[in-house]
Amino acid sequence: MIYSEKVMEHFQNPRNVGTIEDADGVGKVGNPVCGDMMEFYIKVKDNHIDDVKFKTFGCGAAIAVSSMVSEMAKSKTLEEAMAITNDDVAEELDGLPKNKLHCSNLGADALHKAIENYREKKKAHEKEVDVKAHEEKKEKFFCPYCDGPVEGMEEACRSCHVELDRCDECGKLLRKDADKCPHCGATKIRV
């Protein structure tokens, strides 16, 4: 057999097959030209992957890789899940044939894309909530560094010209090059 026992086991009994209707993040990679397509769906709770499901069009290796990635990602923090590499997946499966190694790339990529998608959605959502709250209270935004007034959607402060961004965690304004959020204290604020 060209595949390890573990690959065959996951191929025969793939874990977490399916979709999540109200997924927090969705990652899609591949196309039929290269042979495989993968879709990952995640639910996030307290910065942890609470649930994960996948759908895969592809060979035995592609299906086993998807199943293994979904198992490895479950209950991990987003940071831990982002750190899962192609090599980790291939190793957990007791190796893959050389010409099938690209399948493990796809699996990790699809998961990472789902997490990125979640972070982007969250950031956009929190920015929206923040802007709305300020509008309702007729409050103005202030630059977190010079306290100058800003509209809330700009990419730079009009007073001190520092480049602005939104925290991935709380969605509040911060310096683009900040490594810690001054509002919520999150340290990993960027993908």
């Binding site: 065959m8 191929f11 025969q12 793939p14 097959v17 899609k28 196309n31 039929p32 030209v33 290269c34 042979g35 495989d36 397509m37 993968m38 879709e39 759908k55 895969t56 069009f57 592809g58 060979c59 035995g60 290796a61 592609a62 299906i63 010409n99």
Partner: protein, 390 residues
């Protein structure tokens, strides 16, 4: 577990009579056929008798049959040998888009030494139009190669008409008949070709034994240089047992071919009919009627071939696929793409090739396990339309 072999296009088992004929040449008779002593003469005459049997199967003259090691070698020998022998006349070669890799890669290799290649397209069934071949031929063209039957989709090509066009245009014509000889009647006289490749492992002969037919007077340079074996056309000590086996296989095929085809054709038709009736989103590939009698090929939509093969194998059923994931090069089948299928559909390629020894029970077993396999993989596929959404 029940085991069913539906991959005879990859290789057939060796016929018991073939094995029996071969055994003495692995044991009692071992002389080098090029030696003058009686040990050598015994094996030399065995080779000549095998040559006669192969010649009879394809209606060739004995001295037109050259033994090689595989269909691939025969194709390399024919394409490269004939092209190089004709290179002062011209440097263009015309091939169909659905040739075997051994033909396509041979012409590709010739391209590197200054030859040009024209590919003739095929229609949705994989059929070559002889008129397209005529249009492709230029004054530079020296050789045309169109296969007789396609191993991936089963379609039988109009090679006799192609050869007629070649004759009219004064161009040599080769046909790769590896998937055809031993399965359908093949006569080099009726086809009118200058060269034809065949292989023993397609009709109960041993693997590693094949033939190139070269019409008398056709110039073809050797591709293996050395001694004067095979009239100096193909050097190397002869694979005596393999050649004897191929001869016996040819002898059996000549007698049984019609009987085999009559037995296997209804089995093939049953697979095609049941696929149509019992499965959704499964399309037949290749020509519906003008196809090899033992060949049923499909594309199963929304899923990939290798995953199907692995699942079938777990149930003891051997089949084949032309999907990208199945090929080591990870390239989708050039045959299916040339027929106009999209990549996703081509990925679902599945080929069943039978022999007369297969039974309706084998087919019942296939349809017992296959729906579940398809359904399980489809449930996993992002391409499969969700029933609730439909």
């Amino acid at each position: 577990m029940r085991r069913v072999y539906f991959d005879h296009i990859a290789t057939t088992p060796v016929h018991p009579q073939v094995m029996e004929a071969m055994l003495p040449y692995l044991n009692d008779f071992y002389g080098n056929p090029q030696s003058l002593h009686s040990f050598g003469q015994e094996t030399a005459s065995a080779i000549e008798s095998a040559r006669e049997k192969v010649a009879q199967l394809i209606e060739a003259e004995t001295e037109e049959v050259f033994f090689t090691s595989s269909g691939t070698e025969s194709n390399n020998f024919a394409i490269k040998g004939m092209a190089l022998a004709q290179k002062t006349k011209g440097k263009n070669i015309v091939v169909s888009a659905v040739e075997h890799q051994s033909v396509l890669h041979s012409v590709k290799s010739l391209e590197k030494s200054g030859f040009s290649v024209t590919e003739v397209p095929v229609d949705q069934f994989g059929l070559v139009d002889p008129e397209d071949v005529r249009k492709a031929i230029t004054p530079e063209t020296i050789l045309v190669s169109v296969l007789l039957a396609n191993g991936e989709v089963g379609t039988i090509e109009p090679v006799a008409s192609v050869a007629k066009v070649c004759q009219e245009q004064g161009v040599l014509c080769h046909t790769d008949a590896v998937d055809a000889v031993g399965n359908i009647p093949v006569s080099v006289k009726n086809l009118g070709v200058d060269a034809l490749s065949l292989a023993g492992n397609q009709f109960y002969g041993p693997t590693g034994s094949a033939v190139l037919f070269l019409k008398k007077g056709t110039r073809c340079l050797p591709q293996i240089d050395g001694g004067i074996q095979e009239s100096g056309k193909r050097a190397g000590s002869e694979n005596i047992a393999g050649i004897v086996g191929l001869g016996t296989a040819a002898e059996i095929a000549q007698k049984e071919l019609g009987v085999w085809a009559d037995k296997v054709r209804p089995l093939r038709d049953t697979i095609i009919q049941r696929m149509e009736q019992e499965m959704d989103h499964v399309i037949l590939t290749g020509h519906p009627t003008n196809r090899l009698p033992h060949h049923a090929s499909f594309c199963v939509k929304f899923i990939e071939g290798e995953a199907m093969l692995l699942n079938l194998d777990m149930k003891g059923i051997a089949a084949a696929s032309g999907s990208a994931c199945t090929s080591r090069a990870l390239k989708a089948s050039h045959v299916l793409l040339a027929m106009g299928l999209d990549h996703a559909t081509a990925q679902g390629s599945l080929v069943f090739s039978l022999v007369e020894k297969n039974t309706t029970d084998d087919i019942d077993y296939l349809f017992e396990v296959f729906p579940e396999i398809i359904e399980r993989l489809r449930q996993m596929s992002p391409l499969y339309p969700n029933q609730e959404e439909e």
